[in-house]
Amino acid sequence: MTADIMAFTFPWEYDFPPFFTIQPNATTREKQLESWGQLVLHYCHANNIFVADVIALSESELFNNKNIHRRLNHKDVLTVLDYLESKKCVEWVDRQKKQCHIHWQTPEQWAEVIHGWARSNGFINSVVTFEDLIEGDDTVQESFHGINRLALLKALEVLQSNNRAAIVDIDGVQAGVKFL
């Protein structure tokens, strides 16, 4: 199954100037952060961003709308990402919050995609290493190509839990999976 080509369009909020000011009113802010969260995930999905550098992301069009001359400042970008972290969609790589993993799909969603790929490409009943899954030539076209190891593991654990895969140890370390 090839990756879905998402035609990415920005939502209406993106052109609404107040979107770029974190609202002091709690109810309004909750709604605003929800919108931001969805936008971040969709954008990262469309651009296959698994690990984001915060500064690079701040400079990108995601947080910077040149048309209306508005942008989220660094502090507010962190606010949005922390909000996503609370929803388990973001994982900080470092304490200084310079980089983070963006989980724009849930482990369950990844599980389906990966198992689907395994079926389509004849990998059922064979063992594939994590490395091959993440960086192998066979997965270059896939949406999960470049996925971060932790997310992959979580997805495979889902498959394992419903007996569609078995995680394999190589030299005592979880390093491969057998698709069933």
Partner: protein
């Protein structure tokens, strides 16, 4: 393009002459007071009580009232003595004016610039004392005089004038009017160089000022004692002024003391003064606005901001139709009891919707309220979720809260 000149304005002298004063003979002519700004601290020349030594003279000097560009005294010789400044008209040597040093508050000097006719010495004057001998004009709008030295000499004049002022020789009683004696005894403290000299001079200045002030208060006390009760005529006149301004019987601390009763009475007065203006301006005004209105209406016996605040806190106690309200930000307003905050929030949100987006200035202009109040209203509407903010380098603007109203 010069200023408009009345042909009669240039060489006029007023006819006002107090019969009990002896004047040097001077040709009286017609004058219109509106042609003058007035320099009422100047007086016609009278010979001095004691021998006057001229410390400095400068020719080609003009006297100008305040910031006026024209004067009837443009060409004359200025002389400085220890007691006063004398100006004699070049074309009419019989026309002389004096200014006593005691009327001078402070002195400034400006050097000749490309655009001025000469170097200037500016004298800031004290208010005209009662019983002041008459001069060219009775009423003056300005509190300063400019001497323009068209042929120079302002530097020396300024220095010597300052020196003469610091000595305050006129303070000496008539017994020591002999100039020589009084002068020498006064010399040491104003001389002396270096920092210690400056410090000494400052201390002396301070002491002199202190002396002046205490003396002035002595005079006031004596005046008050002499006067006793103000007579009926004055009282009725005063009361009629107050009536015209809107307060018929001001509540004063002398009549009611400073207790709770005072503040309650004051609260009543505030209600009376502010009720109509509040109705006219939309029902709300900030406390500083209220303060200005109340004190303007009172004219005298002004109240302090603390008094206003305390009195406003009593508005509810006296069941006043107006009340004080404090916004979250701490801004105090007085408003009609009928004004409801939620209603105002709705109105503000509607206006924002109408305008698309608005900042405090826009709202202030539309509703004819102060920007402070407009901001408070916007914040209040934001707090109930009706509008949301856009804070950027362009300023703080508010938009309808589409986050809550727009369905995706």
């Amino acid at each position: 393009m010069g200023p408009r000149r009345h042909s009669s304005a240039v060489r006029l002298r007023p006819t006002v002459v107090h019969p009990s004063f002896s004047l040097w003979p001077c040709k009286p002519q017609q004058v219109r007071f509106e042609d003058y700004y007035g320099m009422n601290r100047l007086s016609w020349y009278t010979p001095a009580e004691s021998m006057e030594e001229i410390l400095r003279q400068a020719g080609n000097v003009g006297i100008y009232d305040g910031d006026a560009k024209q004067s009837a005294f443009e060409q004359g010789t200025l002389s400085l003595t220890l007691q006063r400044v004398i100006w004699a008209d070049s074309s009419d040597p019989d026309c002389r004016l004096i200014l006593h040093h005691s009327l001078i508050d402070k002195v400034e000097r400006h050097h000749k610039s490309m655009f001025s006719r000469g170097g200037k010495v500016i004298l800031h004057l004290k208010p005209t004392p009662p019983g002041h001998p008459p001069g060219p004009v009775a009423a003056s709008a300005a509190n300063s005089l400019r001497f323009i030295f068209k042929s120079g000499g302002e530097d020396d004049f300024y220095k010597l004038l300052l020196d003469a002022l610091s000595r305050q020789t006129w303070k000496r009683t008539s017994s020591s009017s002999s100039s020589a004696g009084s002068r020498t005894s006064h010399v040491p403290s104003t001389r002396g160089g270096g920092i210690s000299g400056i410090e000494k001079r400052l201390v002396d200045q301070h002491n002199k000022t202190h002396e002046n002030i205490s003396q002035a208060f002595e005079d006031m006390k004596r005046l008050r004692m002499k006067k006793g009760e103000s007579n009926d005529d004055e009282t009725t006149q005063f009361k009629s002024y107050l009536l015209s301004l809107g307060v018929s019987d001001p509540v004063t601390k002398t009549t009611f003391g400073t207790g709770a009763i005072y503040f309650e009475k004051l609260a009543q007065e505030i209600t009376d003064v502010l009720l109509k203006p509040l109705e006219e301006c939309g029902g709300t005004m900030t406390l500083p606005e209220a303060y200005c209105r109340i004190n303007r209406a009172r004219g005298v016996h002004l109240i302090s901001p603390e008094d206003l605040l305390n009195a406003c806190q009593k508005l509810d106690a006296i069941n006043s139709p107006i009340t004080m309200f404090v916004f979250d930000s701490g801004v105090n307003v007085v408003q009609l009891r009928s004004v409801r905050v939620d209603q105002t929030a709705d109105e503000t949100a509607q206006l924002v919707q109408q305008l698309g987006s608005a900042d405090a200035d826009k709202i202030a202009r539309h509703k004819l309220i102060s920007p402070v109040l407009a901001k408070e209203r916007l914040l209040a509407a934001e707090a109930v979720g009706k509008i949301c903010r856009d804070d950027s380098v362009e300023g703080l603007f508010f938009y309808p809260n589409l986050f809550l109203t727009q369905t995706n």
